[in-house]
C-alpha cells in the first residue's frame, strides 16, 4: 500500500510542478499520518459506542464499531512482562516485549503457571486505601496494579515470579518505510525486498486518509497552501463520511 500512497501523493503534488518529496521526507510524513489516523480510531470507536447507545447505529453490515475493533485488534499483543524487582514489572516496550504500548488493556496474574485473576488498574491515589480496606483489598483472585514510571506494581505482592504477570496491550503501529534502489539516472525505484521495508499497518480503507494527511504535511513542507488546503478538505470530508 505504501507505494501506491506515495505515487498518489507525488502525482497530486507534481500536478502543477509544486515540487518533489524525497523518500526520507515521505517516510517522516507517512509515520506522522499513520499515527494520526491510528489515534483517531480510538476516538471514533468511542463515538460509535455513543451512537449505539443513542440507537442511531445498526448491526450486521451497519456495525461500524466491529470494523474499528478489528483494526485496533490487529495491533493487539499478549506478552509476559519482564520483572523489574519483586512485584514490580516493566511496562511493555521495545526493549522488553518488542513493542511500545499505546494502551494497556489487560493485566493477568499467574501463580505457578496457573491463571489466578485479572488485575485491575487502580490509581495511585486510591491504592493505599484499597490495600488497607478489609473488604476490598487486592487478593489472589482479585489482584490490582498501579502504574509507576516505566513499570506496573502488582498487588498483592505474592505475585512476584518471573512469569507471573502477563499483559495484553495495543502497540503502536510500526514506522512505515518506503525503501528503494537508486538507479543510475538518479530516480529512486521502489524496492520492497529491502530489509528495513515496512508497509503501512492500517487497512487499505485508510489509504485515502493517509494521502490526505501526508499532503497536509507535504504542503507545509513545500510551502504550498493549496496542497495543504486540499489535504485538509479531503481529510475533513473523509472524517464526516466516517461519522
Amino acid at each position: 500500500m505504501i507505494n501506491s500512497v506515495r505515487n498518489t501523493v507525488l502525482a497530486i503534488i507534481n500536478k502543477n510542478n509544486y515540487g518533489y518529496i524525497s523518500p526520507g521526507d515521505f517516510n517522516l510524513f507517512a509515520k506522522q499520518a499513520q499515527l494520526d489516523i491510528f489515534d483517531e480510531y480510538f476516538i471514533r470507536y468511542n463515538q460509535q459506542i455513543n451512537e449505539e447507545n443513542a440507537r442511531i447505529s445498526g448491526t450486521g453490515y451497519a456495525d461500524i464499531k466491529k470494523g474499528y475493533e478489528e483494526v485496533i485488534d490487529t495491533f493487539s499483543v499478549t506478552s509476559f512482562l519482564t520483572q523489574k524487582n519483586q512485584n514490580v514489572y516493566f511496562l511493555p516496550s521495545t526493549s522488553t516485549t518488542g513493542s511500545d504500548y499505546y494502551l494497556l488493556n489487560k493485566v493477568l496474574c499467574f501463580s505457578g503457571g496457573v491463571l489466578k485473576g485479572e488485575a485491575e488498574k487502580v490509581t495511585n491515589s486510591k491504592i493505599t486505601m484499597l490495600n488497607s480496606s478489609l473488604l476490598t483489598s487486592p487478593s489472589t483472585i482479585f489482584p490490582a496494579y498501579t502504574q509507576e514510571a516505566d513499570g506496573v506494581v502488582i498487588y498483592p505482592d505474592t505475585f512476584n515470579g518471573v512469569n507471573d504477570v502477563q499483559a495484553q496491550y495495543i502497540r503502536y503501529p510500526l514506522d512505515p518505510k518506503w525503501t528503494y534502489v537508486t538507479l543510475y539516472g538518479g530516480e529512486p525505484l521502489f524496492d520492497q525486498t529491502q530489509a528495513d521495508y515496512q508497509d503501512f499497518e492500517l487497512p487499505i480503507d485508510d489509504s485515502n486518509n493517509l494521502v490526505a494527511k501526508i499532503l497536509q504535511y507535504a504542503g507545509i513542507s513545500i510551502r504550498e497552501a493549496d496542497v495543504f488546503q486540499f489535504g485538509q478538505i479531503e481529510d475533513q470530508q473523509q472524517n464526516q463520511t466516517n461519522l
Partner: protein, 306 residues
C-alpha cells in the same frame, strides 16, 4: 467455576479435604458473581459503566453480609467446655448468636439469656472513694464483686430462686431431701416465662465472651451463631446460595446506581424494587414451603390435645 464430574464431587480426586465439594452445587462463588456481573450488568451498553471492579466487589460482599445476617439460614455451631472462669470466648467469625445449649446427661438443654447484668468492671477505691491509678494514668482495675459472686455461686438468680425453706424460715421442720423443702415460698417475682433450672448467661459483645453463672462450671456448651459469610477474608471461599444469585446481582446494581451521580430517580427506583422483589422470592424459596409440608401442618390441625 467450571462444572465438576461426579468423581471430583464425591472424592475431590483424592485430595484432602476429600469432602470439599459436597453440597457445593448449591452455591455460587464470589469470583463468579463479580465476573458475571461485569459481563452481564456492566459495560458500554449497560446501566453501569466505568465502575471500578473493587466497587462491584465491595457491594457484592456487603450484599452477602446482609444476607448472612438474616435471610440465609446458615447457622454455625461450636462446642466448647466452660471452665471455672465461666467464660465462653466468642468464635472469630461470630456476628450474632442464635441459641446456646448446655450439653449434659446426653441432653441438649437450651439456655436462657439473663437480662440482668452478670459482669462488671471495677476500680480499686480508697475509703474516701478516690481511685488509684497506674503508670499510664488509668484507674486500676480489680475483679468486681458482681463477678466474684457470680463465679463463686453466691449471686442469686431471678430465674429460679434457689433459697431453701430452712434458710427462709430457720424454725421450720427439716424434711431432709423432700423436694417440697426446696424453693418454697421464695419464688415471688419469678419470671415464669423464662424460669428454668439451667444455667443462665449474658453476652459481653465488646469483651467477646459469654459469661455464665457458677452452675455452668466444667460443663459442655454448644453455641449456635451466625457469621457474615466472609470466611476470614478468603475470597475464594465466599459463596452465596444459588437461590439468592439474582438478588445479589440486583443488589450490586442498585447499590452502584444509588451512589452514582446523575442517575435518574426512576432508574434507581426500578433497581430498588427489583432488588426487593428478588429478595422476597429468594426468601420464600429458601423457606421450603411446598404442598406436602403444608399438608402435614393441616393434618396436625385435627390432632386432639389431651
Amino acid at each position: 467455576m467450571a462444572y465438576i464430574n461426579q468423581r471430583k464431587y464425591y472424592t475431590n480426586d483424592g485430595v484432602n479435604p476429600t469432602d470439599e465439594n459436597w453440597g457445593s452445587y448449591q452455591y455460587v462463588g464470589l469470583e463468579d458473581i463479580v465476573k458475571n456481573f461485569q459481563l452481564m450488568y456492566a459495560g458500554n451498553h449497560e446501566l453501569i459503566n466505568n465502575e471500578n471492579r473493587f466497587k462491584i466487589l465491595f457491594h457484592a460482599k456487603r450484599g452477602i453480609q446482609e444476607l448472612n445476617y438474616d435471610a440465609f439460614k446458615e447457622i454455625k455451631n461450636l462446642e466448647l467446655q466452660v471452665y471455672d472462669d465461666l467464660r465462653f470466648v466468642l468464635p472469630p467469625d461470630y456476628v450474632n448468636w442464635v441459641k446456646l445449649y448446655l450439653l449434659k446427661d446426653n441432653v441438649l438443654r437450651e439456655l436462657t439469656e439473663n437480662i440482668q447484668v452478670q459482669s462488671a468492671v471495677s476500680y480499686i477505691q480508697s475509703a474516701t472513694a478516690s481511685f488509684t491509678y497506674d503508670g499510664d494514668g488509668n484507674a486500676t482495675v480489680v475483679d468486681s464483686t458482681l463477678d466474684t459472686e457470680r463465679k463463686n455461686g453466691s449471686l442469686k438468680s431471678i430465674y429460679l430462686n434457689d433459697e431453701i425453706d430452712e434458710n427462709v424460715n430457720p424454725n421450720v421442720y427439716n424434711y431432709d431431701s423432700d423436694i417440697y423443702n426446696y424453693r418454697i415460698g421464695a419464688r415471688y417475682g419469678l419470671n415464669t416465662e423464662t424460669a428454668n433450672i439451667n444455667p443462665t448467661f449474658t453476652i459481653d459483645k465488646k469483651a467477646g465472651v459469654i459469661n455464665f453463672d457458677s452452675t455452668m462450671a466444667n460443663q459442655q456448651c454448644v453455641l449456635q451463631y451466625i457469621s457474615d459469610g466472609m470466611e476470614n477474608g478468603d475470597d475464594s471461599k465466599i459463596s452465596v446460595n444459588k437461590l439468592f444469585e439474582d438478588y445479589i446481582y440486583a443488589y450490586i446494581q442498585y447499590a452502584i446506581l444509588n451512589s452514582k451521580f446523575g442517575v435518574q430517580e426512576y432508574i434507581i427506583n426500578r433497581a430498588r424494587k427489583n432488588k426487593q422483589a428478588l429478595l422476597r422470592n429468594a426468601k420464600i424459596r429458601l423457606s421450603n414451603i411446598h404442598p406436602s409440608r403444608l399438608l402435614m401442618n393441616l393434618r396436625g390441625e385435627d390432632k386432639w390435645l389431651k
